[in-house]
């Protein structure tokens, strides 16, 4: 049986166009290669 109160928590407001810039800047772009380079740097 669907629990509406629980299910509604799974929905989140969408980003509006005005908020796109902040979302882009705040995006964590750290990837596996960055981590690898970090590890190599620490190793050296």
């Amino acid at each position: 049986m669907i629990d509406f109160e629980e299910e509604i928590k799974k929905f989140h407001p969408s980003l509006e166009v005005e908020e796109a810039e902040d979302a882009i800047y705040n995006n964590d772009l750290t990837d596996g290669i960055d981590i690898m380079l970090e590890l190599l740097k620490e190793k050296e």
Binding site: F11, L15, E16, I24, D31, G32, M36
Partner: protein, 459 residues
């Protein structure tokens, strides 16, 4: 594949031939990123967009510079109706690779159509408002808002899901089927879609509705192919001729309005007029019925009055005329006056005019009887004497008149009848005389008058 350190082209070796850097792990990361990208692409081709997005995000977590994966992720987001998320990915992609990037085309296409961008923004605002309504338990408002949103952005999967959830909350499971199917047609692997659909299937027979022909747009969705250029699919809203659509909408609106007028307003108006006419007809019928009843009552009253009039006239006639009550009383008064004067003959003449049938008084009848009894005896004797004297004098005609009066009084007297018969014989009317003489013989057989009567009959 280029070296992360010197940007030289790498060979099959685990070391960079240019700078000697160890690229074994680097190559594995890049290859893993590519594997995830391929996986995401395959899933996107099968319209398993949620799974595709997950794979592509994994790909980008390994290698943020995987432009193909990022652009495809943006495209997947756009296909799911998440326009801002798509724009974000394409903007990042453009920044990471400013040239020879297909994301540039995507962004340009959107920027060129400011109306489309405004529409996207409005859609997002309305969706957020609908979500707020839903969180505040204003399901009706949320549903209305979501319908508007999905009309503008029919690919917004989470909009369909929220709409389905609201329908399920309102126990309208049959209505939840349509948005869930739409969501499923856009994204087959969305776990919420699958979960809600399973719930709906417990209540509604969804299989029957599967017979509905899929929409052409869904069938004609472009299949993602490899790493080649993938353009965002313009929706009907975007590509439509706005002017033409507006005119068409106006025409459709007018047609719907006319149809509503014809099927709803006119029948209602006609029904109202018919009801008014029926009401007036009923009122007039009621008035007519009332007047008919009044006429019938008046006619009945007239008949009653006519009968009463006739009865009164009849009653009045009993008081008037020769046989009337008034006349009877007058005759009675005359008789009583004559009786007081000892004039028995006049008393009997007056009593002959008294009709005792019109008088109901017992006292009247008693007085009438006593006077008549007393006067009759005396009148008979007096008339006999007068008649006999006329007979002796030979005046037989006068004797007949006087004796006939005595006979009519009714008192039994053999002499009166005898001399009446003899008077007729002497006057020449033998037959009438014999009739009276025979009466004397019959009524008084042992008298002298009877024996003499026999002799005169023989002669």
């Amino acid at each position: 594949m280029k070296c992360y350190k010197c940007k030289a082209e790498l060979s099959s070796s685990d070391y960079c031939t240019s700078c000697g850097a160890d690229v074994k792990v680097y190559k594995k990361i890049i290859k893993s990123s590519e594997i995830y990208y391929n996986q995401g692409l395959a899933m996107a081709q099968m319209r398993e967009l949620t799974s595709a997005a997950d794979s592509l995000r994994h790909s980008l977590k390994l290698n943020k510079n995987n432009i193909k994966a990022r652009n495809l992720l943006g495209l997947v987001y756009f296909e799911m109706g998440e326009a801002v998320a798509a724009l974000s990915e394409w903007v990042i992609s453009k920044n990471l690779q400013p040239t020879k990037n297909i994301a540039d085309d995507y962004l340009s296409a959107i920027k060129k159509n400011s109306t489309r961008l405004d529409a996207i923004n409005q859609t997002i605002k309305k969706y957020n408002q609908a979500l707020l309504y839903a969180q505040q338990n204003s399901s009706d408002l949320a549903i209305i808002q979501l319908k508007k949103v999905l009309n503008l952005n029919p690919n917004l999967v989470k909009g369909h899901l929220l709409l389905a959830l609201l329908y399920m909350k309102e126990n309208e499971y049959d209505k939840a089927v349509k948005p869930l199917k739409k969501a499923m047609s856009i994204d087959k692997s969305n776990p919420l879609t699958i979960k809600y659909m399973n719930e709906v299937k417990k209540v509604v027979d969804v299989s029957e509705k599967k017979a509905e022909p899929p929409k052409k747009a869904s069938e004609e969705r472009k299949v993602f192919v490899g790493e080649d250029v993938i353009l965002p699919q313009p929706t009907s809203y975007q590509e439509s001729n706005a002017g033409g659509i507006t005119v068409l909408n106006i025409i459709i609106g007018i047609a719907i309005g006319a149809a509503l007028m014809w099927f709803l307003v006119f029948p209602a108006k006609r029904q109202a007029i018919a009801e008014e006419n029926n009401k007036q007809y009923a009122e007039i019928s009621g008035q007519l019925e009332l007047k008919s009843t009044t006429i019938a009552t008046l006619e009945s009253d007239k008949e009653i009055l006519q009968k009463e009039k006739e009865d009164l006239e009849k009653e009045l006639s009993t008081y008037k005329g020769k046989d009337g009550i008034i006349q009877t009383y007058e005759s009675m008064l005359v008789a009583m006056d004559a009786y007081i004067q000892n004039d028995s003959i006049k008393t009997m003449e007056a009593l002959a005019n008294v009709d005792t049938t019109v008088i109901n008084s017992e006292d009247f009848k008693k007085v009438y009887g006593e006077i008549k009894e007393a006067a009759a005896q005396e009148a008979t004797r007096t008339l006999y004497e007068q008649g006999y004297n006329r007979y002796r004098n030979g005046d037989y005609q006068t004797a007949i008149e006087v004796l006939a009066k005595a006979y009519e009084i009714g008192k039994e007297d053999a002499g009166v009848i005898y001399y009446l018969g003899r008077s007729y014989q002497r006057s020449g009317d033998s037959e009438t005389g014999k009739k009276y003489l025979q009466e004397v013989i019959d009524k008084y057989p042992n008298t002298q008058y009877a024996s003499q009567a026999k002799d005169y009959i023989k002669n």
